[in-house]
């Protein structure tokens, strides 16, 4: 009971803080009398959903790009980290390259991707993927290396197979690192997809925002930002939930 009310209190605070910001936002506009096309009220923002902007479809498209790029980055990033840990020469050869690639502002690659893959959902997934792949690879790679060599020695005296060492020691040990990388990557995945839509596309929330900008529909632009944020927040919450179930409270980074 005590635990439950404590939980409830925590969630209550989260909701209250957000509500307070919305109220302050509303009051600030009412008091300063800023015109609607500069800064809409929360109510005007919400009412923009009534406009026929294909909100559902565009949110869906951006969602697919974000989640698709993110999912792809996790799969490819984890597999690459595993290959690196199994074949050290591969890591020696490719890791410096990966670090250099990490330095490229991926946003700058957007126009190139569109030349290469034409524009649309696929190339936006790729931009999103390219921007969040490296944090996943680097954290997973680091996690796989964090195992104490003495512990590996201990199981080696028992003739443990490479697979056993991996499934029983390396992988569970690396998971907290992977999750910390995954949390960072959520923000990047959203940014990647939106940038792709800004550069060239004919659907998605980023595209929609450029369209309504022309007509100075600031309220709709605000709504666009809110929905984009919502996609990111949902993904983040899912990662937290997954972390809770897979890793639990005991297996954290130090």
């Amino acid at each position: 009971m005590n635990n439950f009310s404590k939980r409830l209190g925590q969630y209550g605070i989260i909701v209250l803080v957000h509500l307070a910001v919305v109220v302050l936002w509303h009051l600030a506009i009412k008091i300063t009398e800023v015109p609607d096309y500069v800064m809409p009220t929360p109510i005007a923002t919400l009412l923009s959903l009534q406009e026929d902007y294909g909100w559902l479809h565009n949110t869906w498209v951006t969602g697919v790009e974000v989640w698709g790029g993110y999912g792809l980055a996790i799969v490819v990033g984890v597999i690459t980290a595993l290959l690196f840990s199994w074949f050290r020469t591969l890591e020696t050869l490719l890791m410096p390259l990966m670090v250099s690639l990490n330095m490229i502002p991926k946003v700058a690659l957007g126009p190139l991707f569109i030349v290469w893959f034409s524009y649309g959902i696929d190339s936006n997934i790729l931009i999103s993927f390219s921007i969040c792949f490296l944090p996943i690879l680097l954290t997973m790679d680091r996690g796989l290396k964090e195992v104490d060599p003495d512990l590996i020695d201990l199981v080696r005296t028992l003739n443990a197979s490479r697979l056993q060492i991996f499934t029983k020691i390396q992988l569970p040990g690396a998971l907290p690192y992977l999750f910390s990388g995954m949390k960072v990557a959520v923000v990047l995945a959203v940014a990647g997809a939106i940038v792709g839509e800004f550069i060239a596309s004919e659907e998605g929330l980023g595209y929609l925002m450029l369209q309504v900008q022309v007509t100075m529909d600031t309220a709709a632009m605000f709504m666009g930002v809110l929905l984009i944020t919502l996609i990111g927040v949902t993904l983040y919450a899912l990662v937290l939930l997954l972390e809770y179930f897979v890793v639990g409270k005991t297996n954290t980074v130090n």
Partner: protein, 254 residues
């Protein structure tokens, strides 16, 4: 007289880096009988750990003979070695009992029997009731007891201990020394106990192998003629002082 269970003679090991050779162990010769507790003492860098790793099959050696097992007692290197390090090296995402059964899992021993034995061993090391706790909930001494139980789970004939109590405070260390003697008498294992504590070496061992650094070589093989069960009071005995002084002299400290 029967053959020794562990037999080393003239063992030499050098580590080669690019253009340097580093002599880690020179001419180590000693025997240990089945069920004997032998201490190996020396300053850091004298090759104590290297000797243990050679016995565990984790290092090769350049010359000499290493033989474990005799006509009465066979020895299988993959199932008959238990290791305890200075750090407990527990898997933080596993409960205490699941940490203890790790070697049994790797060897593919039946799960039900392993869990039963793990409970028995945890009782023996004084951790009854902590089976379902996680490592971070236990003190350093309790974690080290867990790692001792883990070393015993697959019923190995030899336990190799590398400064197992080096990270504990002085009081806990003395307590663990007594515990180890009790566990040793109960389990009848052959134990090789590496330490840099001269008092600890004399107090525990029926024999003390003295190694010196710079150059790394074996300096003495001292029989400790103190009766078991040993009690802390013996540390004040005339005999005890004679042994420790003798070893100090070898290390040019007296």
């Amino acid at each position: 007289m029967s053959q020794a269970f562990i037999h080393l003679s003239g063992v030499r090991k050098t580590f080669k880096s690019r253009n340097e050779e580093f002599l880690a162990v020179s001419e180590v010769t000693f025997d240990a009988n089945a069920g004997e507790l032998v201490s190996i003492v020396g300053p850091s860098g004298c090759g104590k750990t290297t000797v243990l790793k050679i016995l565990a099959g984790l290092h090769t050696y350049d010359s000499g003979t290493v033989k474990i097992g005799n006509e009465e007692e066979s020895f299988d290197p993959s199932t008959d070695i238990g290791m305890v390090y200075q750090q407990p090296l527990l898997l933080k995402w596993r409960k205490i009992i699941d940490n203890v059964v790790l070697p049994a899992e790797i060897l593919g021993l039946p799960r039900k029997e392993s869990l039963e034995r793990a409970r028995y061993l945890l009782d023996m090391v004084g951790l009854k009731g902590f089976e379902s706790n996680y490592p971070h909930e236990l003190s350093g001494g309790m974690q080290q007891r867990t790692s001792i139980a883990r070393a015993l789970i697959h019923d190995p004939k030899v336990i190799l201990m590398d400064e197992p109590f080096g990270a504990l405070d002085a009081l806990t260390r003395e307590k663990m020394n007594l515990e180890l003697l009790r566990i040793w008498e109960e389990s009848k294992k052959t134990i090789l106990f590496v330490t840099h504590g001269i008092q600890e070496a004399v107090f525990l061992g029926s024999r003390v192998i003295v190694l010196t650094a710079g150059p790394a070589r074996m300096a003495d093989n001292l029989e400790i003629d103190l009766p078991y069960p040993r009690v802390l009071d013996m540390k004040t005995h005339e005999e005890f002082g004679k042994y420790t002084r003798h070893i100090y002299k070898h290390m040019d400290m007296a």
